[in-house]
């Protein structure tokens, strides 16, 4: 809220610096001028804070985002209702002017700018809007206040009923007070009714609605001075069912605790503990406790108040009449509560009778009070908002993180200014999913992934995290994107967008990746190294899913010759070639490794037709490479024969390999019991075991 000393702010949006400064000079010192060089900058400024701008002077033809696009955004975000816009343009063609008015422009100032005209139009527009703004503020504050205090609405409603009844206007107040006192006393005495602290205000508030059904009872009956005839009394009795029905037919709030409670109270506040009440003749604890309490409060207040047909009885007399059963039978425990709370009831009634002036006075007092609270509420809210904004901006400026906000309606991505600079994109981007600049720095997949992650969040767990590569300061860097979805708190939760930040994790990420690779892979062939393969295999063998596995170990026949004849470089190429073949002939879920020298290992599921699989792999690995004949010897062991220990599986495959070699190489051999006595074929490379 403006304090009066502060200058009003005018946002001038024009791509020509000359035009901006001419306007600024014409407006003089009375206003604080904020300038924006194009539409995007203007939207960015409004996005940061749209509440402090009193007026906007807007050019049409501008680069990046023109005046019409700015108006479109202002419409979508409802800014146009609060910020008057005056178009400043040399464009006077009818279609332009009409389109601008349609988009909510207040006025036009055409070129050449005339100091007098500019000044006058600006003052008029600001004054007009300031008045409107004040009114809107007043009304919305009132609505806010009233929404917050259901109590007020409820008491207005119950007052309407009372006025029709010709009651004092204090009846509802008394019922409220009595209900509260009786409830508190009852809760101290017993936990039989499962009442919670939080039920007290709800039942108390609902008690005020106990007689709303009377609204449809004819006035002659309601306010008849003498006794009611039997028929009239029957009509009167229907107020219980009518009130309940009114609540039951509410379209939207039927399931609110308050309404449910009010339903019970309306319907059953004339039931009696012995089953002789109306309308349903419920008895004992069939009657909901809230209705029992209100029934007692209602009777007590009727007795102690003056009515057309009777004087006001004293507290003592009323208690006597109730305990004697003159007004029907009540829950004995509630009667105990009534007796016990005699003091506090008297006390409260005394306080209330001091205030027992006319209704008008009470209402005036309430209104004054409300009015006072309205003003202080909105000022405080604004101060808090301002505080939060300052805090946010301060922290954002300190950190080198990229912070962002995305709104769905309109589809707009806003980046912190540091962030926009780091990514080399605009602070504001409309439709970022289709924007070439944004896609250029994030590659489509990152955006898609984050989108689907965010779309899958819920109000209960709105935060998601994603690691991906982004083009930051011209370099692709691993970044962690932490995102929180934002929700409109309505009956149906509605995602309105998300906010988040991007942290650079490039150094850690690449270090960890490198280390992981280094630790687990063979540098020459890119296959797993032995120790990492062993770990993975052990894990699988450990899994108690009952699966059987096979292990094959093979080496290249006469590999030493290739090395000797053609040199180590050639030998390395042969190994790389074999690794390629091996990868090509196995599945991704199989484990393949170079266990050392020219020895390789395959670990896979044992399955039907495994002989054929092995045969196929064996053939794929044999053949010619750059004139060099390659054949291999292979030994295979099966976990169902050797057991699930790695050492056993490996040892047996090794023995089978030895057997294959002994039999003349260039073949494969499955392990069987007869090989038990054989020593290791590759014990040299198995030295670390």
């Amino acid at each position: 809220m403006s304090t009066g000393n502060e200058k009003q702010k005018i946002l001038i949006v024009d791509d020509s610096e000359m035009n901006r400064s001419i306007l600024a000079d014409m407006l003089g010192d009375e206003y604080e001028i904020i300038e924006a060089v194009d539409g995007t900058e203007a939207v960015a400024r409004l996005n940061m804070d749209s509440t402090d701008i009193s007026l906007m002077l807007l050019d049409i033809v501008m680069p990046n985002m023109d005046g019409f696009e700015v108006l479109a955004v202002m419409n979508r975000r409802n800014w146009i209702q609060d910020i008057p816009v005056i178009m400043i343009s040399a464009e006077n063609t009818y279609s332009y002017v009409e389109h601008a008015y349609e988009l909510g422009v207040t006025d036009f100032i055409s070129r050449p700018f005339d100091g007098q005209v500019v000044h006058r139009r600006v003052i008029n527009t600001i004054m007009l809007y300031a008045k409107q703004k004040r009114l809107i503020e007043l009304v919305s504050d009132q609505i806010y206040e009233k929404e917050r205090s259901n109590n007020l609405m409820v008491s207005i409603l119950s007052h309407i009923v009372e006025f029709r009844n010709g009651e004092s206007g204090m009846h509802v107040l008394h019922i409220n007070m009595m209900t509260e006192i009786l409830l508190q006393t009852l809760m101290r005495k017993t936990d039989k009714y499962n009442l919670k602290r939080s039920d007290i205000p709800i039942i108390t508030m609902a008690s005020a609605l106990h007689d709303i059904g009377k609204i449809s009872i004819p006035g002659e009956i309601l306010n008849k001075p003498g006794r009611l005839t039997k028929e009239e009394f029957e009509t009167m009795k229907t107020h219980t069912l009518i009130g309940a029905q009114m609540l039951d037919q509410l379209t939207y709030y039927k399931d609110e605790a308050l309404v449910k409670m009010a339903y019970q109270i309306c319907r059953w506040h004339h039931e009696r503990y012995d089953g002789r009440g109306y309308p349903d003749g419920l008895s004992g604890e069939e009657i909901p406790i809230a209705a029992q309490i209100v029934a007692l409060a209602d009777v007590y207040d009727a007795l102690t108040s003056e009515r057309v047909y009777k004087p006001a009885y004293s507290h003592e007399k009323a208690i006597d009449m109730i305990t004697n059963g003159e007004c029907g039978t009540f829950n004995p425990m509630l009667l105990e509560c009534l007796l016990e709370s005699t003091d506090s009831i008297r006390e409260q009634l005394a306080i209330n009778s001091i205030k027992q002036e006319s209704d008008r006075n009470i209402r005036n007092m309430t209104e004054d009070l409300l009015h006072y609270e309205e003003l202080s509420a909105s000022e405080r809210t604004l101060r808090l908002l301002e505080h939060e904004r300052t805090k946010y901006q301060f922290f954002a400026s300190l950190s080198s993180e990229i912070q962002f906000e995305y709104t769905k309606e309109p589809s707009m991505l806003t980046l912190s200014d540091v962030g926009a600079k780091m990514l080399g994109v605009a602070e504001i981007t409309m439709n970022p999913m289709e924007d070439d600049m944004i896609i250029g720095v994030s590659d489509g997949k990152v955006m898609e992934d984050i989108r689907s992650l965010v779309l899958n969040t819920t109000m209960e767990s709105p935060v998601v995290q994603y690691d991906g590569e982004l083009l930051i300061n011209g370099e692709w860097r691993w970044s962690r994107i932490i995102c929180r979805s934002m929700w409109a708190h309505e009956e149906e939760p509605d995602m309105t967008g998300c906010i988040g930040k991007i942290v650079d994790i490039h150094e850690e990420h690449s270090k960890i990746k490198d280390l992981q690779r280094l630790a687990s892979h063979d540098g020459l062939t890119g296959l797993l190294n032995h120790s990492h393969a062993k770990r993975l295999i052990r894990e699988r063998l450990h899994e108690s899913d009952g699966k059987d596995y096979i292990m094959a170990i093979f080496d290249i026949d006469y590999f030493k010759n290739a090395n000797d004849r053609c040199g180590h470089m050639f030998g390395d190429k042969v190994l790389q070639h074999m690794a390629g073949k091996l990868r090509g002939s196995t599945r991704d879920c199989d484990i393949t490794a170079r266990v050392g020298g020219d020895e390789f290992m395959i670990f896979m599921d044992d399955m039907e037709g495994i002989d054929n699989v092995i045969d196929r792999i064996f053939r794929a690995l044999s053949g010619k490479y750059e004139g060099f004949d390659i054949s291999i010897s292979m030994g295979i062991s099966r976990s169902r024969e050797t057991g699930r220990r790695y050492e056993e599986l490996f040892g047996c495959a090794d023995k089978a390999l030895y057997t294959a070699k002994q039999a003349g190489r260039a073949q494969y051999c499955f392990y069987d019991d007869s090989m038990d006595e054989i020593l290791s074929a590759i014990s040299s490379i198995d030295g670390e075991e």
């Binding site: 020509s16 000359m18 033809v61 700018f113 007098q116």
Partner: protein, 115 residues
Amino acid sequence: MTIKECYEKIGGDYEAVFQRMMKKDALIIKFAKKFLDDSSYTNLKDNLGSGNVEEAFRAAHTLKGVAQNLGFEKLYKPSSELAEILRAGSMEGIDGLMDTITEEYEKTIMAIKEL
């Protein structure tokens, strides 16, 4: 040279500008001098040179607006005509117009520098 003489020299509408600028010569002088740094003419020339019609239109449009605000009538008219041609996405017959604009622009700049 006074500001009035300057306007006479370049065929500007001094009286109108004087009225619009709240009868303050100081303001007119300030903006006239500011015009020396205005980049719209250079922008226009560069963008025409590189064939970027859209940007050239914006520059011509800005130049037109500034000239109009400052009452540089002789510069305003050809830049306004040029802007309309460029707005239609065309570059036809603009050479003559651009020559006029350049001539008037230089004359204006020279005169302002003598203030």
